[in-house]
């Protein structure tokens, strides 16, 4: 099998290298990829959408329909992870452990007994290890700045590298960092599964809803210029605002999906301690 694989890889690689001889040289300004369509976008996107970042303009306006379904793909990936892994049946372990947060005293409850709801105790697993103090404190200081940066990346996607996808991933990463540095249970307590699922759907809904709004105003799906009447700006600025709206939708969807996938995969759907 190894030999066969090696032969297949060598033959394919040789064909690709042979084909690469016909490709344009690296960083050639006159290469076919850079001569037909892209000059139009580079020269016109500023006057057509008033968004200086051409990548954002193409992503959310010229190719808005494609990006909407990319967002849907991400949403469905989150849903697939949930349906594959989540163990919905609540199987309570025979005995549960509760730890007093301040003193560290752990009590064990046998099956059938219930813990009165209290903020002083947190439920832990049998294989619980205390989170490292240095890691915990460092993450606690870092996470707010990471989230602030993520919001900047989303909001500033028009004028600098950034946008909904990037900002959403950074936001999701901050929550995942919290789950790694503490444990999954405290992360889920702060951001419940229901909230994540709703945010995931709301993100896609904002995107599709913006498109449907354009449709309701008697214009093509995702043609933001018609939003000018609603927003009281000129049609060009309206397109830039429409891009911001869908970028926010993308950001929310990506944020929720990243956390959802992490929660399900890291705990194999049990939502206990996680990694």
């Amino acid at each position: 099998m190894k030999i066969v694989g090696l032969i297949i890889v060598a033959v394919t690689g040789a064909f690709l290298i042979y084909a690469a001889a016909d490709f344009p040289a690296w960083s050639d300004p006159a290469s076919p990829a850079s001569t037909y369509l892209s000059p139009h976008f580079i020269e016109k996107s500023m006057e057509e959408t008033s968004v200086p970042n051409i990548v954002t303009a193409v992503l959310a306006d010229y190719r808005g329909f494609d990006t909407m379904f990319e967002t849907t793909v991400i949403f469905s990936a989150g849903v697939v992870c949930f349906f594959l892994l989540r163990i919905s049946r609540r199987e309570e372990p025979e005995s549960r452990y509760y730890r007093h947060v301040l003193t560290g005293v752990t009590i064990q409850l046998k099956e059938g007994y219930k813990m009165p709801p209290s903020d002083d105790f947190e439920q832990i697993d049998a294989a619980w290890t205390p989170p490292d103090l240095i890691v915990k404190t460092a993450c606690r200081i870092l996470i707010p700045f990471i989230q602030l940066f993520a919001l900047y990346v989303i909001a500033h996607g028009h004028h600098s590298p950034g946008g909904g996808f990037q900002g959403g991933v950074i936001l999701g990463a901050s929550v995942i960092l919290f789950a790694i540095s503490h444990d999954l249970r405290s992360a889920v307590r702060r951001m419940s599964e229901k909230l994540i699922a709703i945010l995931c759907a709301v993100g896609v809904l904002i995107y599709a809803g913006t498109g449907a709004l354009c449709l309701l105003l008697k214009q093509n799906f995702l043609d933001y210029s018609v939003l000018a009447g609603v927003l009281h700006v000129d049609p060009i600025t309206a397109r830039s605002h429409g891009i911001l709206m869908v970028e926010i939708g993308v950001g929310i969807a990506v944020l929720a999906t990243m956390i959802w996938i992490y929660n399900n995969v890291s705990s194999a759907g049990r939502y206990r301690q996680g990694l």
């Binding site: 190894k2 690709l16 490709f23 200086p52 990037q166 992490y262 399900n264």
Partner: protein, 131 residues
């Protein structure tokens, strides 16, 4: 000889992407462990992303964000000054979708491990045939 070197230097981005892609393909075909196959798939994907991004490069071009300031909204933009934004748009979504599909692949691997108690392909096949 200098001819060969100059052709290689002019197109070394393609050589890098082909090498990376073949490493990924080899891992996907030969490796026995499912997680290693998934890692191979991701290396393959990274090679494609590098390929696309390297297509967009123009010598002397800057990032595709138009220089702008108040009062000069209507200045003329030359396409030669900015690199090609279209491959970046395609890869931007591909990266995030890649992470999402990686999550799905890992979820499937977890499911398989729960069922067969192994991630080695030959052991899983033996168990499937044995039943």
């Amino acid at each position: 000889m200098t001819d060969l070197i100059s052709t290689v230097v002019a197109k070394y981005n393609y050589w890098i992407y082909i090498t990376l892609m073949m490493i990924g393909l080899y891992a996907m075909i030969v490796k026995n462990n499912l997680v290693k196959k998934i890692v191979g798939m991701n290396i393959f994907q990274t090679a494609i992303i590098l390929f696309y991004v390297s297509i967009g490069v123009k010598k002397g071009g800057t990032i595709p964000i138009i220089e702008h300031g108040h009062g000069q909204e209507n200045h003329v933009v030359h396409a030669v000054d900015y690199i090609n934004p279209l491959p970046h748009v395609l890869m931007l979504t591909a990266i995030v979708v890649g992470v999402a599909t990686l999550g799905v692949a890992l979820a499937l691997a977890i499911k398989i491990y729960n069922n067969y108690n192994t991630l080695e392909e030959d052991e899983i096949l033996a168990q499937v045939r044995g039943k």
